[in-house]
């Protein structure tokens, strides 16, 4: 079973968030990238746009279909990972680190309280994988 870093928080849509002060960096989990398979295309929001919690912040396509990326928190986009736009394979090879997608300046850090820690996410994934 995969190990999910314990310095990250997770939503049930398989996105992770790394919090540094008011900044939240977001990506998808190793479990998600494995489930989707080779990612072929990605679309991310532009800097200065606003992302709502539980709403799509981007879209990806793999050979299996198109998938909306659901944001764990709300905030203004302050940074977008240009490296993954140039080399999309990074999302598959290093999803929890260099495969990050966007950084938000959070508008309500209390939203973090509703997210899962690594242990809770691990249990959630285990349950989902069992029904696969």
């Amino acid at each position: 079973m995969k190990v999910f870093p314990d310095d990250l928080l997770y939503n049930r849509e398989h996105a992770w968030v790394r919090v540094e002060g008011e900044l939240a960096t977001i990506g998808i989990t190793d479990y998600a990238q494995e489930k989707l398979g080779e990612i072929l295309a990605i679309e991310l929001p532009e800097v200065d746009s606003y992302v709502e919690r539980d709403e799509p912040f981007g879209t990806i396509e793999s050979a299996k279909g198109v998938f909306e990326l659901i944001s764990p928190v709300s905030g203004e986009v302050v940074n977008v990972n240009e490296d993954i736009l140039d080399d999309i394979g990074i999302i598959n090879s290093d999803p929890h680190d260099t495969g990050w997608m966007i950084t938000l300046e959070m508008s309500d850090s209390e939203e973090l309280d509703d997210l899962l820690d690594s242990r809770e996410y691990h249990d959630f994934v285990l349950k989902e994988a069992e029904s696969d």
Binding site: K35, E43, E46, S49, G65, V66, E68, D132
Partner: protein, 281 residues
């Protein structure tokens, strides 16, 4: 288990896509039963996959000459010419016990229902297991030239292509079943102007088939809908109850038509101005 069945209609490309997305979005918001819809396209249309580059993948000038509309789907995959096809849309929860949570499993279940219907017409379609090589690189933009896993083939020729969108636990699967097939027109509309289109059409003809090709005579769309609907009911042990759009879906459909699917920015560039699923410039 009861599912909603929205019976066959021939509508324009923009309304067809707006209806499917409206059902999908409402399904994300409320706990509604799964829906199956059958439809065709009038006027004939080309639908593009979500990420496809319109000017690169479609011969826009030829589409205009033939009065063929161009629309971008919310689902993935390649470009499809909808002139002699029957399209289906299935919208359901990923957690519906009839569908395995793994993504390809859903394609497999739906393909087996479509195959069951085709079998009633005397067509033995098989599910593609691991994908088939593309007959020609220059044909790669066209959906029917490149089958993916669990798509339907008859004697190694593709007869039904499908694509999905997933978000917030709901999936929308589009499928296009070829009732008849015109490889020359498909090449003229879906491929760039350069290249020998007669040769490309011959290659496409060698890798694509249709219900008409297989049965040898014309089969009415009503009859095809009937056998596929029955097959869904039988294979999934469900009852398809005829229904229509809810007021909320109807209102969202109108909004999606005007803001997104009738908007050139979406169809040609893959962008919408506001509140759509793509971000503005």
């Amino acid at each position: 288990m009861i599912w909603r069945f929205i019976s066959f209609k021939k509508l324009n490309a923009f309304e067809n896509m707006a209806i499917d997305e409206a059902i999908f979005r409402e399904n994300q918001r409320t706990d509604t039963p799964p829906t199956i819809r059958f439809y065709s396209w009038s006027p004939p249309s080309v639908s593009l996959g979500y990420f496809q580059a319109t000017w690169k993948e479609v011969n826009v000038e030829a589409c205009r000459r033939y009065s063929v509309d161009i629309v971008r789907r919310p689902t993935g995959g390649k470009a499809v010419l909808h002139e002699n096809d029957l399209t289906y849309a299935v919208i359901a929860s990923e957690r519906n016990p009839l569908f395995p949570p793994d993504i390809l499993g859903t394609y497999k279940v739906i393909s087996s229902c479509v195959a069951g219907g085709l079998s009633e017409l005397g067509i033995e379609a098989e599910m593609e297991g691991e994908g088939r090589s593309n007959p020609d690189d220059s044909l790669k933009a066209a959906c029917f030239s490149s089958p993916s896993r669990y798509e339907l083939l008859v004697k190694k020729k593709k007869i039904c292509g499908s694509a999905q969108l997933r978000s917030k636990g709901i999936f929308l699967q589009h499928g296009s079943i070829l009732v008849d097939f015109d490889p020359l027109k498909t090449c003229a509309l879906l491929l760039p102007q350069h290249g020998d289109q007669t040769r490309q059409a011959e290659k496409l003809h060698g890798s694509v088939t249709s219900i008409h090709d297989q049965v040898g005579t014309s089969v009415s769309v009503e009859n095809i809908c009937h056998v596929i609907k029955n097959s869904f009911e039988k294979k999934l042990d469900i009852k398809l109850v005829e229904g229509c759009l809810t007021l909320e879906e109807e209102s969202l459909k109108l909004q999606l038509m005007s803001d997104k699917y009738m908007n050139d920015k979406w169809n040609m560039e893959g962008k919408v101005q506001s509140d759509g699923s793509k971000n503005s410039d």
